[in-house]
């Protein structure tokens, strides 16, 4: 095969990231499947130390965009630019590991990337999963598995984290914890984060920039301004904006006790 997009040589000299440096950029990206256009001339970029959230309804082309940024999918038109030697930590959507395959967490983390034991334990500690190191993947709960996936993305010391719906199958307080964790990782590593989500409510406080996608970029910018954007309201309906008010109000309280869905009727 020709290129190994995510595997620069393990000991390649690393050029430290400058604050706000551009990591990856799509220019006029178009992807067609047959006659259907999955993405039409999308422009977007992710920089170091920023969290960009990509939102859009089902079938909007979010995962297609991620696959193009990762280099798995060839653009029909336009181009993808990546910082030379960019290390990407990727957490795919709806990841499922066949339960008949006996794999410990440690092995899972070192399968594709030859990390030493210290690096593995450090990555697990960072996501609060160090006690899981020698468990089998098939023995983990949904939330534990999600943390292990995060550790797997971290173990290669990524400059860009791409997380495709990282909170699927996790309850609301667990989701808030995960978003706090992502923000913490960004602060500690200075890496860029691209977060894919199908709604904005819970993810909003951890986001610097929002890109709203529906085959093309409908609107983008600061979360609050996107929420008021007519294109956003048109896509998600006015309820999407009102749900947020409840959430920002509740945000002052302790998540562990009040982390219920923003629409919860009993508050």
């Amino acid at each position: 095969m020709s290129t190994l997009p995510l595997n620069p040589p393990p000991h390649a000299p690393r050029i430290p990231l400058a604050q706000g440096e551009r990591l990856v950029e799509a220019r006029g990206l178009t992807v067609r499947a047959g006659r259907r256009e999955l993405l039409s001339s999308v422009d977007m970029a992710v920089h170091a130390s920023e969290i960009v959230t990509l939102i859009g309804p089902n079938g909007a082309g979010k995962t297609t965009l991620v696959r193009a940024l990762l280099g798995i999918l060839r653009p029909s038109d336009g181009e993808i630019w990546r910082r030379p030697g960019l290390r990407i930590g990727y957490l795919p959507q709806r990841m499922h590991v066949e339960p008949t395959l006996p794999l410990t967490v440690h092995r899972f983390l070192t399968l594709a990337y030859a990390a030493d034991g210290d690096a593995v334990r450090a990555a697990l500690a960072e996501v609060g999963a160090e006690r899981l190191e020698h468990q089998l993947l098939s023995e983990l709960s949904g939330g534990e598995f999600q943390r292990v996936l995060m550790a797997r993305a971290l173990v290669r010391n990524p400059e860009l984290l791409i997380l495709d719906e990282p909170v699927q199958g996790v309850d609301v307080s667990g989701q808030l914890d995960l978003y706090d964790l992502i923000a913490h990782i960004r602060d500690a590593h200075g890496c860029g984060v691209l977060l894919i989500s199908h709604d904005l409510h819970l993810v909003m406080s951890a986001t610097d920039r929002v890109v709203c996608l529906n085959q093309h970029v409908c609107c983008h910018g600061h979360p609050e301004s996107v929420l008021r954007d007519p294109a956003y309201l048109n896509l998600f309906g006015p309820r999407a904006a009102s749900g947020l008010a409840v959430y920002t109000h509740a945000r002052g309280h302790d998540h562990a006790h009040h982390g219920r869905p923003p629409h919860a009727p009993d508050s």
Binding site: M1, P5, L6, I72, Y90, P92, V97, E98, L103, F108
Partner: protein, 269 residues
């Protein structure tokens, strides 16, 4: 000592079981049991062609596999029918075509039962050469590509994102399975080969905590099933393939019982 057919059968059977262990794990992990079965059915067409064209049967079987795999790939590309439907059509069409072709060859005495269910007496020195030559080749490729094959089995999309040639690796795996089927055909028989791939692997899953442990354990359990099965076959004059598979199934049942016993013990304390 290789003049003795018992030794040839044992050596051949154990060789096949050792190779089938790790490959069978992949068949279980990747849910390819039906693919293996379909491919094995296609082998009969290869055997029939070999007789009709007077060529080496192993070579003609490999040729049939290539045609089979290409036909499957082109039908899959049309996306009209699900893969299991396509496999069902191809596998039974190939089996039926093989049976019809063999029925035309009146002057040739083809031991059909031997090909379908395995024949302990039929293992020749040349067969042993195929089994051990092919076996060493298969194991070498597997050792070389092991962690990459495990990676694409864990998650294809992730492996692709990490730069692995997923399509090529998948093809390599299918080829290896085809090779092991050719090697095992004489001893286990076309209709039962998949059992030797999946039963030892499934039994090994209970006790394994790593892919390598499961592979080695599957090889050992497979070899044990061959020993027991061939022993029974000699003692009671039963067909060798079914005897080996019955023995493997008994081993599988024993591991199930051992697992539930172990679990009860752990909960009791």
């Amino acid at each position: 000592m290789f003049d003795d057919f018992i030794w040839r059968a044992l050596l051949g059977g154990i060789g096949v079981a050792v190779v089938a262990g790790p490959l069978g794990c992949f068949v279980v992990w990747r849910r390819m049991a039906y693919f293996g079965d379909a491919l094995a059915h296609g082998a009969l067409l290869g055997v029939a062609l070999g007789f009709a064209l007077d060529m080496n049967l192993n070579a003609s079987t490999l040729l049939a596999f290539v045609v089979f795999t290409l036909a499957l790939a082109s039908l899959q590309a049309q996306r009209r029918l699900a893969t299991d439907t396509l496999l069902g059509i191809l596998s039974h069409a190939a089996l039926a075509l093989g049976l019809v072709t063999i029925s035309f060859m009146e002057r040739l005495r083809v031991d059909l039962m031997g090909y379908l269910f395995g024949d302990i007496l039929a293992v020749t020195r040349t067969d042993l050469l195929w089994i051990y030559g092919g076996g060493v080749l298969i194991l070498a490729v597997m050792v070389l590509l092991w962690s990459r094959l495990v990676s694409i089995t864990v998650h294809e999309e992730l492996a692709r994102a990490e730069g692995l040639p997923v399509g090529t690796l998948r093809l390599v795996l299918m080829l290896l399975i085809a090779l092991v089927i050719v090697a095992a055909m004489k001893i286990i028989g076309i209709l039962l080969i998949t059992a030797l791939l999946i039963i030892p692997a499934a039994a090994a899953r209970t006790f394994a905590r790593s892919p390598e442990q499961m592979a080695v354990l599957a090889s050992a359990l497979g070899a044990l099933a061959v020993l027991g099965g061939l022993g029974a076959s000699l003692r009671w004059d039963t067909p060798s393939g079914p005897s080996v598979v019955v023995c493997a199934a008994v081993l599988f049942a024993l591991t199930l019982a051992a697992e539930s016993g172990w679990r009860r013990l752990r909960h009791a304390t």
